[in-house]
């Protein structure tokens, strides 16, 4: 179980697999990845399903699924507290959980959220209050090897220039996140538990 935190936003991720898969869902040459996002209040709705899809596409791009044919990988994300930047928090938690589970990946990924305020300035990792007042909100999944954009999910209106600036900000911010990954993994495996 890995807990991912962005400020006060907390998400708990759990990974099960590779395990037996139902015949209806099996794929002959690779693993079937299922992502479940559980919100705190109420049943999961369409918004959660679309967020699940974003996370799933990113994970499928990073994982080496062909190493586990006809198997299932289940990734469960439970929202513990939502104070903005939820999707990027989910992505971070997912990556660390997959890494901790020992699943082979071609690259690590991290999520970064950028908000464009009413006056045009870019806020990285916004809180819920900042998100509410923003003109546009973008979440990018950045990969660790070449800092490219793996997935983007945007809301609101913005110009092409602003989009590219946010991508550049996210790439810079991803350095800090990957450094955090490295530190926590080093700490975790420093001793035999």
């Amino acid at each position: 179980m890995i807990d991912g935190r962005d400020g006060d936003t907390s998400v708990m991720a759990g990974v099960y697999g590779p395990a037996e898969v139902k015949v209806s869902k099996e794929i002959y040459d690779r693993a079937t990845l299922e992502v479940l996002l559980q919100p705190k209040v109420g049943p999961a709705g369409v918004r959660e399903q679309s967020q699940e899809q974003c996370v799933r596409e990113t994970c499928e791009a990073a994982l080496l699924l062909s190493l586990h044919p006809r198997s299932s990988l289940t990734l469960i994300l439970q929202v513990l507290h939502d104070d903005g930047s939820l999707l990027s928090c989910c992505l971070n938690a997912a990556c660390m959980a997959l890494m901790d589970a020992g699943l082979s990946m071609s690259c690590l990924f991290c999520g970064v959220t950028c908000a464009i305020g009413a006056d045009g300035d870019i806020i990285a990792d916004p809180t819920a209050a900042q998100e509410k007042e923003s003109r546009a909100l973008m979440t990018f999944a950045i990969d660790s090897t070449e800092r490219r954009v793996m997935m983007s999910s945007t809301k609101g209106s913005f110009s092409v220039q602003e989009l590219q600036e946010c991508v550049a900000v996210s790439q810079k911010a991803s350095e800090k996140v990957f450094q955090f990954y490295r530190d926590s993994v080093r700490r975790r495996y420093s001793k035999n538990l």
């Binding site: 759990g14 209040v41 439970q78 513990l80 550049a168 538990l193």
Partner: protein
């Protein structure tokens, strides 16, 4: 995912050990595992750890119309989610037997015992009442989800604060937490459930069974009590025959355990209240112990944004020019009907006079056609090979209209 079946050796080992009054984790027969209660940042969010079993409860409220046969009472809604995170055998969406059982037991324990004053949740009789919703999420299943869930639910209800409401004649004002302090729910008593597992047709009993013990048990007795020694609910499942004095003995054990747990809950609530008053950060993240190698915390760091705009502009300049739009332009043959591309039937409709109501749709359709045709015209200047896939005849008609 299918649950791994329990092997016969494991089963025999557990039963033999129970006969010799030994438990896997070294507890005594009547011992509970370590119970830890922490709170989240919002009011009404509570985490309960019972050994390795972990659940989270979240209470929320909203204003709804009351039930018709109870116009002056608020509504309580309980939901226990058996998340696949707790155990791979729990499946998302499917209501398993265990899920139905837990939900029903929690409802009986908390709703039928009238531990929350529902009359105080009424705002306008017959029109608006508070619906208090308790969502319990199971995070890890190591046995005895029922007890953990009941502790989490009642603690979260005690911790929850609902928005303040003011009624002036016909007007009802709901204040946000910033305007006026939210007020706690009125809780009469705290029912807590205690579970007893029976083995060998009722000969041996264990309190607070862990997951392995639950797998080999014959039956389960659940007693929900409050600290005033009032029984709120009893449920016996598994088909074991219990004698009267066995049930009496269990209820005596339960009353001792319940008073201990109630004391723990009150202490946790007081600690949280003091922490919030002192202004410190409180929440799930803060409650995690930091001095472990499995935990790492990084404070807020700044990101350098100095060269961002240059990088952004550089990328745009380097990028290729956008390819010419090869999308067929949309066309409005009849008010309220949009058409894109060729090969569609004409639907047998003929061009009619524009109605006043449909003018809006017609104009928006025209705008789109205008934009695309304008782009097409500019592109035609730059490049020659623009593939126009559209019903050219109808499109010509539209363009003429605009011109």
């Amino acid at each position: 995912m299918k649950e791994t079946p329990l092997s016969n050796c494991e089963r025999d080992f557990l039963l033999r050990a129970i006969e010799e009054k030994k438990r896997l984790d070294g507890r005594q027969t009547y011992d509970y595992r370590k119970l830890k209660i922490t709170f989240g940042t919002d009011y009404g969010c509570c985490f309960v750890d019972l050994g390795q079993t972990r659940v989270m409860a979240q209470v929320s409220c909203e204003l709804v119309a009351p039930k018709e046969n109870r116009p002056t009472e608020g509504i309580l809604f309980f939901n226990i989610e058996l998340s696949p995170m707790a155990s791979p055998s729990f499946e998302q969406g499917r209501q398993s037997e265990l899920s139905v059982k837990l939900n029903r037991q929690l409802e009986r324990c908390l709703r039928n015992s009238k531990c929350i004053d529902t009359e105080s949740l009424c705002v306008v009789s017959g029109e608006k009442v508070w619906q208090v919703r308790v969502d319990v999420h199971t995070l890890n299943n190591d046995g005895n989800l029922m007890d953990a869930a009941s502790v989490a639910a009642i603690t979260a209800l005690c911790h929850f604060r609902r928005p303040d409401v003011a009624i002036q004649g016909e007007e009802v004002t709901v204040f946000s937490p910033e305007e006026r302090d939210p007020i706690p729910l009125s809780v009469y008593h705290m029912p807590i459930s205690v579970s007893f597992a029976f083995f060998q047709q009722g000969t041996f009993l264990l309190v607070d069974p862990c997951e392995r013990e639950e797998r080999v048990m014959d039956g389960l007795l659940m007693i929900a009590m409050n600290k005033h020694r009032e029984i709120c609910s009893i449920q016996s499942s598994g088909g074991i025959m219990l004698l009267k004095d066995q049930v009496m003995r269990c209820s005596k054990i339960a009353s001792v355990k319940v008073s201990e747990i109630t004391e723990l809950i009150s202490q946790a609530l007081l600690n949280d209240k003091a922490a919030r008053k002192a202004g410190g950060k409180c929440g799930f993240a803060e409650s995690m112990p930091q001095d472990r190698i499995t935990a790492l915390k990084m404070d807020q760091t700044d990101v350098e944004m100095t060269n961002v705009s240059q990088t952004g502009s550089g990328v745009i300049l380097q990028g290729d020019e956008a390819p010419p739009p090869t999308v067929p332009s949309p066309v409005v043959p009849v008010p309220g009907v949009g058409q894109v591309g060729q090969g569609l039937q004409s639907w047998g409709l003929e061009e009619e006079e524009e109605d006043d109501d449909d003018e809006e749709e017609e104009s928006s359709g025209d705008d789109q056609v205008e934009e695309v045709t304008q782009i097409k015209l500019s592109e035609k200047d730059k490049k020659e090979a623009v593939v126009e896939i559209s019903d050219s005849e109808e499109e010509e008609v539209e363009v003429d209209k605009l011109n």
